[in-house]
Symmetry: C2
Subunit: 235 residues, 2 copies
């Protein structure tokens, strides 16, 4: 049986940002009626927003998120195995990057299902571009340790790696803890280490600033509370 | 004097791929008449292709590439310092990632010029999405050593890091050496290490495949010669 293709479908990074999606991506959304999403509710809302031609009752959406088990994956991939094209989306940005979607994509490769990544917004990529830091080598570290002593130690380790290997270090924090992360950076890092904070990327409230720690200490504290942000450190 | 904004402008990853650019990006290109590009010739050709409303004689394009010196940067940024919006583009994909553009962006931050990254195709991001490998933590390593013994050693080091830190390792090669890189991977890496090859991303000839080294050895060698590719290894 001819299998379907697994399309990797970016969605906007927040509200009022649908214009950041290329038209060929919207058209692909319109052509699909099988989807796997982190949250079905988010997926349905988005499909209605972009005027999907079919009614929700004819669209199949299953969930893949942190509560899913490995044994759920074959069921989620089933439409593609049975010949239907299938769309994978996450809660924001690009699927398969820092989300549970990678496991489904891995199974697709194992089952010789074609995987088709599509172009759209990624806060990690946009932050790296805008930071002005070395993009020849970079490392995305995800979430850092929560406990303050462990966090300080980790920040100093990343600072060492950035210097030694000329490798920009990226990390994220749960938005309501951004302020504490910023304070930890000021405490842990050397005065001439550069820190970039990239906040609300692609949204009307977008904020990107890179300067060294000594300069961050001279400025008013940026307002980061509950705003999606990416942090970068380098030289 | 009110300064201009530095817009970071992605361009397609190859021919027949303009549809991967969102419309808001094309509109921004149309609004600008000052650009910094890796190659002015590439920039002019692209501006004509997307029907820039101004004749080339009224568009200002300066070059920033591997031949540029640090002392050229202030001159390149001058339009923005003087109040004009300025667009930065690279030879393909997103500027400021693995190209000389980062230095101009860094100077912009130092001079309090607003930096505005825009959404477009990145082979690094698309490869990571499509690979099915862990995107929670990943490292882009750029080009690896060329001499075979050094390359083998580096691949095995990346393999160790991938396993120890659950960190997907990405790297690239000059396209005419892809075949030799593939052979080096088969020689250096363990049978159960997963290798993804992502080739010609967003182009009609796009090819993405992930399997473990033992499986790669059982298949016909993929045709990679002179095709832009991203390699990923992980578990």
């Amino acid at each position: 049986m001819k299998t379907g293709t697994l399309y990797l479908l970016p969605i906007p990074l927040g509200e009022d940002a649908n214009h950041t999606l290329p038209e060929y991506l919207i058209q692909q959304f319109h052509r699909l009626d099988y989807f796997v999403a982190e949250r079905a509710k988010t997926a349905r809302r988005f499909l209605k927003e972009i005027n999907h031609p079919k009614p929700m009752s004819e669209i199949h959406i299953e969930e893949l998120n942190k509560h899913s088990q490995a044994e759920d994956l074959p069921f989620l991939l089933k439409p593609a195995l049975e010949g239907h094209d299938l769309g994978l989306l996450s809660e924001a940005g690009c699927p398969g990057v820092a989300d549970p979607g990678a496991q489904l994509i891995q199974l697709a490769h194992n089952r010789q299902i074609k995987v088709f990544p599509m172009v759209g917004p990624s806060s990690i990529l946009l932050a790296l571009m805008a930071s002005g830091m070395n993009g020849q080598q970079f490392c995305f570290n995800g979430y850092l340790p929560q406990k303050k002593p462990d966090l300080i130690r980790k920040l100093q380790l990343l600072e060492k790696q950035a210097l030694k290997f000329k490798q920009t270090q990226l990390f994220i924090e749960t938005p309501y803890r951004n302020g504490a992360m910023f304070e930890a950076c000021l405490e842990a890092l050397a005065p001439n280490t550069r820190l970039c904070i990239a906040c609300d990327l692609t949204l009307p409230t977008q904020y990107v600033r890179t300067c060294d720690i000594a300069d961050w200490k001279k400025q008013p504290t940026p307002e980061l509370h509950k705003r999606p942000a990416v942090f970068l450190l380098g030289h």
